[in-house]
Amino acid sequence: MAAPLVRILSKSCRQISRPWGACQAGWRSTSHRPATDMASDQGVVSFPPLQTYSEEENMMREAVKKYAQERIGPFVSKMDENCVMDKEVLDSLFEQGLMGIEIDPEYGGTGSTFFSSILVIEELAKVDASVAVLCDIQNTLINTLFSKLGTAAQKEQYLSRLSTDMIGSFCLSEAEAGSDAFALKTRAEKHKDYYVINGSKMWISNAEHAGVFLVMANVDPSAGYRGITCFIVDRDTEGLEICKKENKLGLRASSTCPLNFDNVKVRPNTLHHGGPMYLEKNILGQIGHGYKYAIGMLNEGRIGIAAQMLGLAQGCFDNTIPYTRQRVQFGKRIFDFQGMQHQISHVATQIEAARLLTYNAARMKEAGRPFIKEACMAKYFSAEVATLTTSKCIEWMGGVGFTKDYPIEKYYRDCKIGTIYEGTTNVQLSTMAKFIDKEYDH
């Protein structure tokens, strides 16, 4: 059933003028591990529960949990207050190998799987959603783009830096191009042996610290979205201006900046056999294929955001329940009131459902199966669950939940962006509807 669906989608790609979400872009993910071992001696197949992890995944999760609580926890409220990601936290993320989870060890990465990244992001988000999003963007967007599309030389130059000390930013959105991403106006004009980029980008995460920017610019506006190309722009390139970061409601420790491009020169790939390699200022992948890469990447990044929202919801919940078990009113724990129990159980169910959606989407992607609809569902649902959970948690905490002395209000502020970035809830729902519609074609 899945295979014919893929073929139908590829055909429909050419017909639909807005390719957003509908085009699979032939994205095949390689599975590092086989699907969980199922056959027993009698030939009876038994399926382990979804929340089954390899030993390596368990160890990673435990290690990150401990690290996050001890090395990030103490900095969280200060970073939120000052809108700054602490340098010690940034350095330790690299030290722990959390910024190059899927990168090959030959480039200094961890060499693990997509699912491990998901678990890491979830654990980080339980402590600080800003740190989680930094890690998510690096792993699911930047590293994946370089790994999948980079030439040997580009991988050599960038992957080893991305896994050890350099942060990357993904630059797609503009002031006039959010959900309508491919209406982007940033232009790349071809000159003899270089391109010149002019324009501006908005809402660029990690920009304050990024050493490299993957910039989506159009080389041929007359071709519409088929002119969009992915350019690699180093931080110190002349003409690139990183503007003052936004003063946000939540994810305050994660920098979000507008960028200006004023005649920024970028060199295209040179096919060379020997000779000096001009590796800075490059194009990632093929000219005019940027839109495909963006969609493909964001389909995967979506699962990362689902993991972030999931971790956020769980972290908030974990910080609230102990209070409800201690706080006594009218002679009993507030946890013991039926009204509270019903609300708490409802929220716990939603979190569990979000977890299963997220883990399943991740496992499907690893197994090389179509996963876009499931990824949309996971992101949409997790963001909604995070909103519900954090709102309820403040209520359960009562007055103290409303103060900054307790961590709950930060979770509440941080969750809101979940329904907005990397594809708004409305976009996710529309994308899912397209898939559902196709499923009923005979």
Binding site: E55, E56, N58, M59, M60, E62, A63, V64, K66, Y67, R71, E95, Q96, G97, L98, I101, P105, G109, T110, G111, S112, S116, V120
Partner: protein, 254 residues
């Protein structure tokens, strides 16, 4: 000198877990409870790995005695930098009766088999608080011991150990091969980084049974009963010294 260090790592109930006594008072509840490496064993591994990084020793071998799950503890040690592991499989009733005497016999046998230059153990385990295994191991091997170490320095074929004792700090110099037990302030254990966790997968863990080492596991102890500590009773506040003396006399304590 072989340059080989044996480090014992014990799988215990995680320090953060609230311990519960079984309803029949025969022991504590361990099923489904979170376990992790004994914190003092983490410090022991860290010290051994540090010595290897300083190139003072050549190989760190992590040893654990217990059921299948002990292998997770060994993997954590490998992820922290140990080179290989030895899992001595002890299960069921034998495992319940496993104590310092049995473990020290196993460690002694392994030390001879592996030609170890140094054995580093945690000073005690947080579940039984025995503080005996290191000392017994040294006695069985007739090796010197540096216990409660807050500093360890290898100097040629000797080890200088700064020990934490009740009166302060005591510095001793002992010959190798020797047994050292790690105290809290010896070092701060590193986190297992993700790349190291991946590398640990490729490191070898050898399996063996106590019988292979010629060790008899019979226990000389029988646990009769396990109880929770008595609930702390409320105290009484007094205003003056006379009141205090009066209350103490009432309680019959003076």
């Amino acid at each position: 000198m072989s340059g080989r260090v044996l480090v014992g790592v014990k799988r215990v109930i995680d320090y953060a877990v609230k311990i519960r006594v079984k309803p029949d008072n025969s022991g504590i509840v361990t099923d489904g409870v979170k376990h992790s490496m004994n914190p003092f064993c983490e410090i022991a591994i860290e010290e051994a790995v540090k010595l290897k990084e300083k190139k003072l020793i050549k190989e760190v071998v992590a040893v654990s005695c217990g059921p299948q799950q002990s292998q997770e503890t060994i993997r954590t040690a490998l992820a922290m930098g140990a080179d290989r592991g030895i899992h001595v499989e002890v299960t069921g009733k034998d495992y319940e009766a496993l104590g310092p005497l049995q473990v020290s016999k196993i460690m002694a046998a392994l030390a001879k088999k592996e030609d170890a230059q140094l054995i580093i153990l945690g000073k005690q385990a947080i579940d039984d608080d025995c503080n005996q295994t290191g000392q017994m191991t040294a006695a069985l091997l007739d090796w010197p011991q540096g216990t409660f170490a807050s500093e360890v320095a290898l100097e040629g074929d000797k080890v200088k150990v700064v020990r934490e004792i009740d009166g302060g700090l005591e510095t001793i110099k002992i010959n190798t091969p020797a047994v050292v037990t790690a105290d809290l302030r010896l070092n701060t254990p590193r986190y297992a980084t993700l790349p190291n966790i991946m590398k640990a997968k490729k490191k070898k863990i050898a399996n063996m049974k106590p019988a292979d080492l010629g060790v008899d596991l019979t226990s000389r102890l029988e646990v009769l009963r396990v109880d929770e500590p008595p609930q702390r009773q409320a105290g009484v506040k007094v205003e003056t010294v006379e009141d205090l003396v009066g209350k103490l006399k009432e309680a019959g304590t003076i």
